[in-house]
């Protein structure tokens, strides 16, 4: 039950081939004021079917890494592979979920969810969409516009949008960061259930240590400037994990353990939320 840090041996000893391999990912942003070293030699295997959380302080390069994994921008050095395929552009097996739900305000829910099919010039899989809408309790809201929905409902809609095209890898960038604590708990439960039901591989970025522990099979902690992997923790809490697990002493112990390992490695000024 102890969270064991395993320094930079991410994805060690797994018989199955990893879902995604990140090898020596390095990225500099060129800006007017000079270049920003956002990622430094990040290597990580994402195991097939795992729930991987990436945790780190603001500006440590989490989004940069995720965007590279999604093929939205390139690396300065190193490479990312999905199976045998090198990721250099967005891949149909990969879907992204962004911080605010990122729905198009001029489309109603149904049209928002149909967007991926439109872009891929495929017929809309209405059966699958209806199934998903029912699953996340949005059935019957198809004609509503995003502004008519609460933040939680919007984010659920964006989850349906991403799952509608049946990707095998979901990349989620602080998807619930803007939600209130109650809605966030609900969403965490939902995403855990969806993950257990669908067996998809999920990479999930968060600021919150307890959110990471609640959701993850493994928590990858990143450190800032330049962004690199500081440590990896296995979370072997059995599933399904109920929300109130977060108040249990052994859970809090894990939180403090990870927090201590983070504080150990850097100045105390830039804080990470325990909640």
């Amino acid at each position: 039950m102890d969270a064991t840090p395993m320094r930079n041996v991410a994805g060690a000893s797994d018989k199955k081939a990893p879902k995604m391999v990140i090898a020596g990912a390095t990225k500099y942003y060129q800006t007017r004021t000079g270049s920003v070293h956002a990622l430094d030699n990040v290597s990580l295997d994402v195991r097939d079917g795992e729930f991987l959380c990436i945790l780190g302080p603001s500006g440590c390069g989490k989004s940069t890494l995720l965007w590279s994994m999604g093929g939205l921008h390139g690396l300065t050095d190193g490479e990312i592979r999905l199976g045998a395929e090198k990721i250099i552009k967005p891949h149909p097996e990969i879907a992204m979920i962004f911080q605010d739900a990122n729905l198009l305000p001029w489309r109603n829910l149904a049209a928002n969810i149909a967007l991926p099919f439109e872009l891929k010039r495929k017929p809309v899989d209405q059966q699958r969409i209806d199934m998903l809408l029912k699953r996340v309790n949005l059935w019957g809201f198809e004609s509503k516009f995003p502004r008519e929905l609460s933040g939680g409902m919007q984010q659920r809609a964006s989850i349906v949008r991403s799952l509608s095209v049946n990707p095998s890898l979901l990349l989620m960038d602080e998807p619930f960061g803007a939600l209130d604590a109650f809605t966030r708990d609900e969403m965490n439960l939902l995403i855990q259930e969806i993950w257990m039901e669908t067996g998809k591989t999920i990479v999930f970025i968060t600021h919150s240590i307890s959110e990471a522990i609640f959701l993850a099979d493994r928590v990858v902690v990143m450190s800032a400037r330049p962004g690199r992997i500081a440590s990896v923790f296995d979370i072997d809490i059995p599933r399904p994990r109920p929300v109130d697990i977060q108040t249990r002493p052994d859970f809090i112990e894990r939180v403090l353990h990870i927090k201590a390992s983070i504080d150990h490695g850097r100045s105390p000024s830039d804080g990470l939320a325990i909640t």
Binding site: P90, M96, N102, W106, K144, E148, E186
Partner: protein, 283 residues
């Protein structure tokens, strides 16, 4: 979770239960500027109109204002009906020039805006000239155009295009410049091509400003059409204005003004509705 679902839906989309009446039929019959007009409001609007028009009629008669200074509303309406046979060909000419000139100007303005905003460098170079086109009254070019092209419709159509195009362009460009990187990233993550990003993200995003541009551009186009017709040629409502005023036929003169006002308001209402349909998400 079920409970949390419904309770956060804002109420603002529901129809206001206005004082007596369901409000549904009203928005259909009124001009529809303003969403939930109650019966009382409609009544007040009609009442004010009656008071102003009737008051003008009475005051003009009361003070014996001569017809050639300001004709009474009833005379204007009568002139509109008796002269209609002579007026409507000119109305058609004006509408044709306006529509053609606007269609040409707006298309070029829109395409230019879409292309130029993709290249910040080009935009910097081109913008001053566009501003020049916007701020210079295109009417000033009409005599020159007539000199080159004669007294037909062509010089006026060109003037209208020159007047409305830049308006459409600067407003559309403002719209196209509002890039939302997250939405573009979203589309790209689903494999969108550059063209799809343009049609599915950039254009809808810019739509509110495009519609404003079309509205302002078409109003500018109307002004320029009429102005150009007053400058030269023998057709169009603008020409009728000079014609009737030269003959001091004031009721007919004001009948033309009335038609122009109706065209202007129709343009406004048209784009108001287009805006409601295509850009109502942004409020």
């Amino acid at each position: 979770m079920d409970k949390a679902l419904g309770d956060k839906i804002p109420e603002f989309n529901r129809k206001k239960a206005g004082g007596g009446g369901d409000g549904v039929g009203l928005s259909g019959t009124s001009l529809g500027l303003g969403d939930h007009r109650t019966k009382l409001e409609t009544l007040a609007i009609i009442l004010v109109a009656v008071v102003i028009i009737g008051g003008a009629e009475l005051l003009l008669k009361w003070f014996n204002v001569p017809q050639y200074v300001l004709p009474t509303p009833s005379l204007i309406i009568m002139a509109l009906f008796t002269e209609w046979g002579f007026i409507w060909p000119h109305l058609l000419v004006t509408l044709k020039e306006l529509l053609l000139g606007f269609a040409i100007g707006a298309s070029i303005g829109f395409v230019l805006a879409a292309v130029i905003t993709q290249f910040p460098f080009v935009e910097k170079i081109v913008t001053p000239y566009i501003l020049l086109l916007v701020t210079t009254p295109m009417l000033a070019l009409v005599p020159l155009l007539i000199l080159k092209l004669g007294f037909g419709s062509e010089p006026r159509i060109i003037a209208v295009a020159l007047a409305s195009g830049p308006m459409v362009m600067i407003n559309s460009a403002t719209g196209f410049r509002r890039v939302d990187l997250a939405k573009i990233a979203l589309a790209r993550s689903f494999g969108a091509s550059t063209f799809q990003i343009f049609t599915k993200i950039r254009i809808p995003m810019a739509m509110p400003m495009i519609i404003v541009g079309l509205m302002v551009g078409s109003i500018f186009g109307l002004l320029t059409t009429v102005g150009a017709e007053m400058v030269g040629g023998a057709e169009g409502l603008g020409n009728r204005l000079t014609y009737y005023s030269a003959l001091i036929r004031m009721p007919q003169f004001f009948a033309i003004i009335l038609i122009l006002a109706i065209i202007g308001i129709s343009i406004y209402v048209l784009f108001y509705w287009i805006g409601k349909k295509w850009a109502s998400w942004e409020t």
